[in-house]
Amino acid sequence: MSRRSRFAALAVVLVVLALPLVWTLVASFGVTPDNNARPPSWIGPPTLEHFAYVGVAEPTFWQELATSTALALTATLLTVAVSLPAAYCLARSRLPRDRLVAQSFLVLASLPVMAYVIPLSDLMRRVHLLDTLWGVMLAQAAVTSPLAVFVLHGAVRQLSPEWEEAAVIDGAGLLGILGRVVLPLLAPTVAATAIVVFVLDWNMLLVPLVLTGGEVKTVPVAMSDFFTFERELDWPTAAAALVVSLAPVALLVAAFHRLLEQFRLTDGTGINIG
């Protein structure tokens, strides 16, 4: 492919990817198209008032933003904390069907939450965890754990066991090996996995939607509420809410994009690809 045609193709990709986002960003500042004019034109001087109006249209929006942040952070930490030891164990146990075990986690990671969220909400109601931060946090951690186990398992498999063996000779225990040998060596992959899991948690709708009922409310649930109850939201305000809810994860990814390259999917063996 020539330089020029590659450049042209990339320009098309850029426009398709970015135009919807730019359109939304511009609208959040109150600049919207007037499609009734001929030729179509743009309305409005840029203003910040729509960001303030988000808090009027949805009075608890800023509270919901805090809830989402706290939930996503704690759920991510829990996911990584339970997945890393398990992935390490599976990768170092020399199981006869090691690959099948890893692949099973991938299948579980592909399972839509809808498959089990209905009985889960019934169960949570019975143990009085419905509409609590704990209930949602633990459920979200369970949703993202299979993917984390799959990715971290692949990463441990690529790690030479020599380091651990050396640590054993030095008298390190299980915790010492995990905390002072495996974790530092895998730090970039663990961090990248944590970022991906954080984004999944931040964006998760179905789990909090079904497991909460007014007390605990996350940003995605608030957004779905607004539209399911047919309250009409004008476009600039909706756009402002979208921009605010996208900004934290966008900043996170922009800051750590180099690290994110360490998020590698494997074929279950952890060798030979990516």
């Binding site: 492919m1 990817l17 369970a142 754990s145 779905s224 990814v253 590698r264 074929d267």
Partner: protein
């Protein structure tokens, strides 16, 4: 190092507890419940065998939902894979501003499915939409939103999902493409292979495992499609974009037919497990 039995137990226990109580346990209890007349607020629980499943599978609404999600998966997944691969292919060789490209690839995926539904609701509309703005310049008549059109709603959902997911697929495929040894490209070039020859004889075999892994995740994602549709069309117009997940949610939480909802959800799960079995089989070869 050798892990003792006790070590293994200690390492696996936290994950096992979490998964058992918040994932596998409810899923299996739900499976048992669907074989009975159980529902959260009834006391009369009888064994009904597969009656709940028979009722769901006989429901024409569910048949429509299954057809819709089948079409959605059939179109969205190959499009996401091809578009993702094509973008990764374009970014494969050194390029100025590559770091910025990587961030850009991740941006649509960062928009949650629900936010994507809200966004496209407005972007497809006549008053504030993109298409009408440009059509207006051409002096064309205003097109109404495809999300409200009986025949265009499902393709619109496919397009939106492809927009959101394909760049992320490119992000996932890029390292796989880069890890293919240089010699293999050189051999293909010396043998006079065309672009397609290099794609199908070098790239695809070289990243087969990764492609299968990504496909598995994409198929699961497509079969469970819920959030975007909930906001964008609510399953409509009529039942044009109804999916089994949406059917299941409505049955359990809106129309109070808990057994139907739980059973329909298990039909989706079964479909994913069938795909999973095929994945394991194909990946072994």
């Amino acid at each position: 190092m050798r892990l003792s039995r006790r070590d293994r137990l200690l390492l696996l226990a936290p994950l096992a507890t979490l998964m058992l109580v918040w994932f596998a346990g409810p899923a299996l209890l739900g499976l048992l419940a669907t074989l009975t007349s159980y529902s959260p607020f009834t006391t009369d629980v009888r064994f009904v065998g597969l009656a709940n499943y028979a009722a769901v599978l006989r429901d024409p609404q569910f048949a429509t939902a299954a057809r819709n999600v089948g079409l959605l998966t059939l179109f969205a997944v190959p499009l996401e894979l091809t578009a993702g691969f094509a973008i990764a292919w374009l970014l494969r060789r050194p390029l100025r501003g590559r770091a910025a490209w990587r961030v850009l690839l991740l941006l649509p995926w960062l928009v949650s499915p629900i936010a994507s539904g809200v966004m496209w609701h407005f972007l497809l509309s006549t008053t504030s939409g993109i298409a009408d703005f440009f059509l207006g310049w051409l002096g064309a008549a205003q097109a109404s939103s495809p999300a409200g059109d009986l025949h265009l709603a499902l393709p619109a959902v496919v397009a939106i999902e492809v927009w959101r997911v394909a760049p992320f697929v490119a992000f996932l495929l890029l390292p796989g493409l880069e890890s293919i040894p240089r010699e293999r490209w050189d051999e293909a070039t010396l043998a006079g292979a065309s672009v397609f020859g290099r794609i199908f004889r070098v790239a695809v075999p070289g990243m087969r495992g990764l492609l299968l892994t990504v496909s598995m995740l994409l198929i699961g994602l497509a079969l469970g499609t819920f959030d975007t549709i909930l906001i964008l069309t609510g399953g409509g117009p009529g039942t044009a974009t109804l999916t089994p997940a949406l059917y299941s949610y409505d049955a359990a939480f809106s129309t109070n037919d808990w057994p139907a909802g739980a059973a329909a959800a298990w039909v989706v799960a079964a479909a994913v497990f069938v795909v999973g079995a095929v994945y394991v089989r194909v990946a072994r070869e």
